[in-house]
């Protein structure tokens, strides 16, 4: 099952979706068992921004029909904190490290890429142009022209493989993938969460006066992940894989090897597991094992 990806050799084709597995927290919770069969063939960090971010106010989660709506808001220590505190620890993981970054301007992204480029612990960089929870990044990812332009600017800043994580909230995702390719991306990954909204439930008690309905999530809208988006993900991954020359990382609602198989069969080189890891932290390993068997 070993697979080549942007010059990296991975032991199997299953990795994690950014922001859905905190290897350092998992090591605290599960101890050394984590490293015995690390569930992913490469580890993708959560999104790192230039400045530290606290993330969004709670509540941040909602259980939807066959899925999860989240609005986490990219909490992270900022580039400096990540490089100084987390990177040395992440380097001890038994798999290659992919650092996911996001910036709202080409200048910001350049700075992020340069900093990553300087660090040997990082095997590849994933650029998040797709997070629906944060204003920045969204526009770049949804507009092919802008995406290509930004990439042309930032691409020279790192010699490491550059993966562009596309936004699914676009009219034509494969056009965005081609723009990423033209801009110098070595791979694309998709899909990120679908823009979604849930409201606070109506009070059961109380008088009949119409209550003012507010969003449930602290930040207003969120992103839908999990089984509910699986068929949408498969369509987008297939459309991108058909047109793009560069390898594709497919994700969205994968919870079994059969779902992973579908993504690989429409042309994905790697598959990422996100929400399913919340239900079972070893889901990635199980899926990889079943794919191989």
């Amino acid at each position: 099952m070993s697979v080549e990806f942007c010059g990296l050799r991975l032991v199997h084709p299953v990795i994690n979706g950014s922001g859905t597995f905190d290897a350092l927290a998992a090591r605290e919770a599960f101890g050394t068992a984590l490293n015995v069969e690390f569930p992913f063939a490469a580890y993708v960090s959560k999104t790192i921004t230039l400045e530290p971010r606290r993330g969004n106010p709670p509540p941040r989660l909602w259980e939807a029909s066959g899925g999860l709506v989240n609005s986490i808001g990219l909490p992270n220590k900022g580039l400096e904190g990540y490089l100084a505190e987390d990177l040395p620890a992440l380097a001890s993981l038994p798999v290659p490290l992919i650092t996911n970054v996001m910036g709202s301007t080409a200048a910001e992204i350049s700075e992020l890429l340069e900093a990553c480029d300087a660090r040997a612990e990082i095997a590849a960089v994933e650029l998040n142009v797709s997070c629906p929870n944060v204003k920045t990044g969204l526009d770049i990812g949804a507009d092919p022209r802008q995406l290509e332009e930004v990439l042309r600017t930032v691409r020279p800043r790192t010699g490491k493989p550059l993966i562009v994580k596309l936004t699914p909230n676009a009219a034509d995702v494969s056009a965005c993938a081609l723009a990423a390719e033209a801009g110098g991306a070595n791979a694309v990954s998709l899909i990120n969460t679908l823009r979604a909204l849930v409201l606070r439930p109506v009070s059961r008690k109380g008088p009949s006066a119409v209550p003012e309905r507010r969003p449930w999530l602290g930040a207003g809208t969120g992103g839908l992940s999990g089984p509910a988006i699986r068929a949408v993900a498969l369509a987008q991954v297939a459309a991108v894989a058909e047109r793009a020359q560069i390898p594709v990382i497919g994700m969205g609602g994968v919870s079994t090897a059969a779902h992973a198989r579908d993504l690989l069969d429409v042309g994905a080189r790697l598959v990422a597991v996100g929400t399913e890891s919340f239900r079972d932290p070893v889901a990635g390993a199980k899926i990889a094992r079943e794919l191989a068997g």
């Binding site: 927290a25 998992a26 993330g55 909602w62 919340f278």
Partner: protein
């Protein structure tokens, strides 16, 4: 902190008992690590998880260990939604996926306060669960104060020894809030460590009271959780001094000094 085996485990239900308005679920876990008081597990039933109204439950649900005895985990359950409803329907012989023990448990009195003469356990509703396993472990003098909405729930007080009970409707014990009982206890002798778990409003009362009397307090919080092991960053509460704590890995037991205020963050309509 007891570390959890990596990956969820399929365990067998050994019993399900009524306890007033609650249920006590027992699950055999002969090989599992013994949880520390205050730790929790993420549970889903092996069958029919994903069913029901509104197509939920889908994610696992968090439950405090209420007791650990003879290689069995005891959980105290209150049916408040699709996940707890499904779990409450279990009976002996069925199976439960279990991930845990997870999170930071209570800190022993000797390591909290300087001269802890006694521990005061303040519980509200189903939040009494982690105080039971804590009482099992405590060796100092213990005062137990438990508040419930009504008499059917107050039956749950049997889970702990020697509890003073308060009910909102006066149907059992003191007619009023459990924090009234705490106020009296702190007045009598503030040199104690308070351990508390319950609804946010109660915890905030406890926090504020203890802050005023200078009594150290350990609060077991709740938050909506998707994973329970720090992966999703979904279960946060604001931390004193800025930023957020993840309840699942920084808690669920959090030193009251780490919090400015305990608020309901599940957005439940008032």
């Amino acid at each position: 902190m007891s570390k959890a085996p990596f990956g969820r485990r399929l365990l067998r239900v050994t019993g399900m008992d009524e306890l007033g308005a609650y249920r006590v679920l027992r699950v055999a876990d002969p090989d599992g690590p013994e949880p520390e008081p205050g730790q929790f597990a993420m549970l889903t039933t092996a069958e029919r998880w994903g069913a029901g109204e509104n197509e939920r439950p889908y994610l696992a649900r968090a439950f405090s260990f209420a007791r650990w005895r003879d290689g069995q985990a005891h959980y105290l359950l209150e049916d408040v939604g699709p996940g707890t409803k499904r779990l409450c329907e279990l009976s002996a012989g069925e199976e439960v996926w279990t991930l845990g023990p997870l999170g930071q448990g209570f800190t022993a009195p000797g390591r909290v306060g300087p001269h802890p003469r006694r521990a005061i356990l303040v519980g509200g509703g189903v939040g009494i669960a982690p105080l039971a396993i804590l009482q099992d472990a405590l060796e100092c003098e213990v005062t137990v104060l438990l508040g419930f909405r009504d008499g059917a729930r107050a039956v749950g007080a049997a889970l702990l020894d020697g509890a003073q009970v308060a009910t909102d409707d006066g149907s059992a014990g003191y007619h009023g809030l459990v924090t009234d009982l705490l106020a009296a206890e702190l007045q009598r002798d503030p040199a104690a460590v308070v351990y508390s778990c319950g609804p946010a409003g109660m915890l905030e009362g406890v926090r504020a009271m203890c802050a005023q009397s200078g009594t150290p307090a350990q609060l077991a919080l709740e938050a909506g959780m998707a994973c329970g092991f720090g992966a999703c960053f979904g279960c946060v509460v604001p931390r004193h001094g800025g930023g957020y704590l993840r309840v699942c890995v920084d808690g669920p037991v959090i030193d009251a000094a780490e919090l400015d205020v305990v608020e309901e963050h599940n957005g439940a309509p008032a």
